[in-house]
Symmetry: D2
Subunit: 355 residues, 4 copies
């Protein structure tokens, strides 16, 4: 400790190596995955797929989605030892034609394996895409990806588009047609990462004229929380108590809200909100993992740990939409005992994915 | 401390007297305020105004909305010294005809004054209703209520209906037509309580078949958070930096999410999400008060205090939709220093409302 | 949730069964262990061994120290499935004659086994006493107790008296004579519970005229923290990195203070405070477990979890000096996710003691 | 947010200006105050006054204790707008001869006024020294300093030495001879800062061979907490309920321990620990302020805020024994809402000292 420092405004951060991140997006060699396919406006009033990001950010994105070396270099700088990559959103969920969805999912899964996992088995795993436009095919692709390619689980970007003529016609994972997916996740004993996706146009009224708010700033997190609630209320976790759902962004505010949701649901007529038997709080504590992707706020993290438990909180980044270096500075730099830092930084993930 | 107790499963709570609650709903003698007027289904698939509550709960509601003696008795049992009452939701906001809205707002404000405040000036204050279907009239009614009836501010139940033939045609408070309201709140130096309201039918897709989820369990909190974000992004708090917005339910998860909202908005093109100059975090800390109405969860409260500050967190209940006694047990019973318990229990409210 | 409750001042607590407690005191059939042996005043100004407790409390203590059935009954009421018992303080540490200490330690260890563990193997384990007046004999007794009687580790009540003519002549566990103890704990892979003991008379000046303050209220916790710091600074945990030290009462304020201790020690000349290589913070996180014995305060527990980690925090009571029922009400009743409640309630102890 | 940063290990801190610090030590032009007077060894085994600090630290200390310009420069770099300075420890409390103590206290108070306050009234205030070797004179000096020199209160460094031939003969502030001091503090309505001091030699047994542990690392904090407990138990705060005691280092672990102290004191015979009427917890919440001097640990600060309240927690540094820049980096850089940062950073102090 020096009594006098001339540089007064910086704090050095000691890097913790070996972190594991699991909400890390890539592109696909086979189609432009960060828009629907074919492209349709995803935000009220916008023409392109992505919201109007400022130009410096945009220019970088495509390169960073696909440049494996740059990604590894950034991981090295950030003390991230291992990343579970997945196709960026909306990904396969935004493919209107079911047959194309099936084919592009398969091809993309093969590519993620070939480009990331096979050459760098100690640095990368992947979550496979599953074409829920055709649930039967999705289930087969899940099995193939896990057993033949070593996929660590599946990642689904919110709702699945069903009709190019009606972009509001979508499918959520509590649809009975999706039951085989939950069965297969249970049988293979791998988790599902439910990743956000911009809500359908007809649901964006709350964020008219606020294109960033509709997507990552707010709207797509709320959409994901609602989707998770639909899944819980449908009784999926009663039928498959071992299945695990991963949610990013500290479980999309569900830790903050769960107690109130349960309390107000209890006022209703029994069974009126779905056949679920337990409670939202119970499912959060038994069937959900929360990642820190996109979160760099200690109080938010504390609320998440309070409600799910330290063992169900996992480090992640959301590269390249977030900076590995910034996430690492925040995580490595915060005042925290090292047992918890290791648990959240990589031990919980090692246990969950048997790494 | 007894080394042996036979009753092992109860903890006595010492009541803290003098608490102030400010999200406390009443009915109106002039119309049925807990539905739209005229009544329309407010939840997909339901015929009546209210969600299908279980029957014991429902039977009690109308009595408790209007029975002043019962309310006072419950407040006495709960150590609530003073309550700021307001018309239940959707209230005046759900009146389709502007002229009726103006008239019923005026009559209801007079009634709340006559029934609650005038006979019990040391026990009750009220927030007035303002008919935003006619902003000019709303502003006059706000002034009248504050100056002549001593209203502590206004309470608005979310969006305002504009058209009985199109229940999706609604108005939010960032609409330029609402500017005079903000100007008047500023001039009168009274706050606005933005209370939840069930989202319009066309926005309820996320909660299809889950009627309780669409309203108090989840949907109407999310709707309110979105509404508050619209208000902030429109620059209202830059134009009127002294105006204060009160949000219930621990500010509807905004404490949990604010850092992320700001961070992702910063990725956008400047000005693309509205003309606001500061940040969501800044407005939460300078223009927003959070009440504990409907919240009985310490971790949620801690996150709220962390992000807004102890001085901007206020006790409340949401009677009769919540139990005064349960809220008091939780608040009085939690382990907390008495300085903070007093601050949140009543001192912050005394300062805000000059009581 | 009832909107109206007539009993307004109690909160029901749902018992969590299967808790494990490990600071649970018994007497010995062979000598009066809650005083020195022979008895000497342990508190300035007092004649008897125990501080002047109020009479109702005192009358109960001897019975509760020795009545196995009453203890089991109380455990049943409190959801405590398993307790690791040990001889009350000062125990063997307060025996002046080394030969007596050796004999009474052995006899007492046999008795604890016979009275508690053998008849109730699924309800009780025990920590053995070790006569550090004769370190060689202590080490043999530790080995015998662990290998033949299944002791879960050793419990030492602070300093050991060495001389009946000079009660200030004491031995702490960083004394080089104690090295064989640490070696044996390492070899047997069992932990040491360092339990408080009233400081020697000549160290009680701070609490003159405040007999309760000198013992459990304050003085003996501070004495224990100082003792733990001596152990850490002597480099024991560098020589035996796997050895684990258990401290009650949330590690006697060390979580609160550790950062400051390390920071100020770093100002000193290297090596001037002992040959230790790491830091107090490091040892807390790698070599110390904290129990909740005697603590029923959530903020204190949170600080402990923050600094040691959830995995190193363990439920305990300190029966019969504390009430099992009160501890269980507090622990079972606090708002906490069930994963953490189970971890602290019993899973961490199951892992530490291989139960 | 850059997606790629080459400097990966630093976080910039935005300085909050206007902070107030109040445990800021100076020397005296009239005697060497960081030792006893005349000098005696203050640590077992050491010859000099100060513990064996490493040499770089020591060389700086005397300069920094007395160099006003350097202090101001450091305050400017750290965003500290105002500092309440006081004589370093042991200060006047370590002067053996009462007459000398009276004279040196008066001269030093005049000097602090002349050197700090008079030339820099918007940057410095001071706490006066009071020679408790002669309580009557001490009370007169307190009055003079407050009324004529504008002292903000008194600062006392722990116990007062009474006898050069017996350095263990000391006086604590609960001694009935000190009653006039409490009366005068009450009448003048100024607080008392109880600052640590190395325990008397005969009390240092716990830290033999660990000279830094005996002083700022641990021993002198524990000594101060014990002293504060003696004051509380003597009933001073019942006799003078408005008097305020300031403790540094987050109130020396009392927030962590208070609940347990009260609980165990309640087991004793009534009145057996002093005539106090309330509880330690009550006095902490009503009569104690905690400063962050010497603390740079968020969890410790949170426990302090939890138990005393945000309104009773104050920023401070302990310059020059701590670095202003480091304290400011920690305080300004931590994730905290700005209302609380301002309250703790300066608003609470402004209110307490009527600045």
């Amino acid at each position: 400790m020096a009594l006098n420092r001339s540089t007064t405004a910086t704090i050095a951060v000691e890097r913790m190596p070996g972190k594991i991140a699991l909400e890390e997006a890539t592109g696909s060699p086979h189609f432009v995955a960060h828009g629907t396919h074919p492209p349709t406006p995803m935000i009220i009033g916008s023409k392109d797929g992505l919201p109007p990001y400022n130009t410096p950010f945009l220019e970088d994105i495509d390169d960073r989605l696909n440049n494996v070396e740059k990604r590894l270099q950034s991981m090295d700088q950030s003390g991230i030892g291992y990343a579970i990559v997945s196709l960026t959103c909306p990904g396969v969920e935004g493919i209107f034609d079911p047959k194309e969805a099936v084919e592009l999912a398969r091809k993309t899964n093969d590519s993620l394996y070939e480009l990331y996992v096979k050459p760098h088995p100690t640095r990368f795993g992947f979550f496979c895409s599953v074409p829920m436009q055709d649930p039967e095919a999705a289930v087969k692709e899940l099995e193939r990806s896990v057993k033949e390619l070593g996929a660590k689980g599946a990642l689904i970007n919110g709702f699945t588009n069903l009709d190019i003529n009606d972009v509001s016609k979508v499918q959520y994972l509590d649809d009975p047609k999706c039951e085989p997916l939950w069965q297969k996740l249970n049988d293979l004993n791998v988790p599902l990462y439910l990743h956000p996706r911009i809500p359908p146009l007809n649901q964006q009224r709350m964020y008219e004229n606020m294109p960033n708010l509709s997507q990552a700033a707010y709207g797509f997190g709320i959409e994901t929380a609602g989707h998770a609630l639909r899944i819980m209320c449908s009784g999926v976790f009663d039928r498959y108590p071992a299945v695990q759902l991963i949610l990013g962004h500290c479980a999309e505010a569900l830790p903050f809200l769960a107690h109130r949701i349960d309390h107000r649901m209890a006022i209703g007529i029994r069974g009126n909100n779905g056949p679920y038997k337990k409670s939202i709080m119970y499912y959060l504590q038994n069937n959900v993992y929360a990642t820190l992707a996109g979160v760099r706020r200690e109080s938010t993290m504390r609320n998440t740990i309070d409600e799910l438990g330290e063992s169900r909180t996992l480090f992640s980044v959301d590269y390249p939409y977030e900076s590995n270096e910034d996430a690492a500075d925040w995580f490595d730099g915060m005042q925290m005992n090292e047992n918890t830092r290791r648990a959240i930084g990589y031990e919980n993930a090692q246990r969950l994915f048997k790494l």
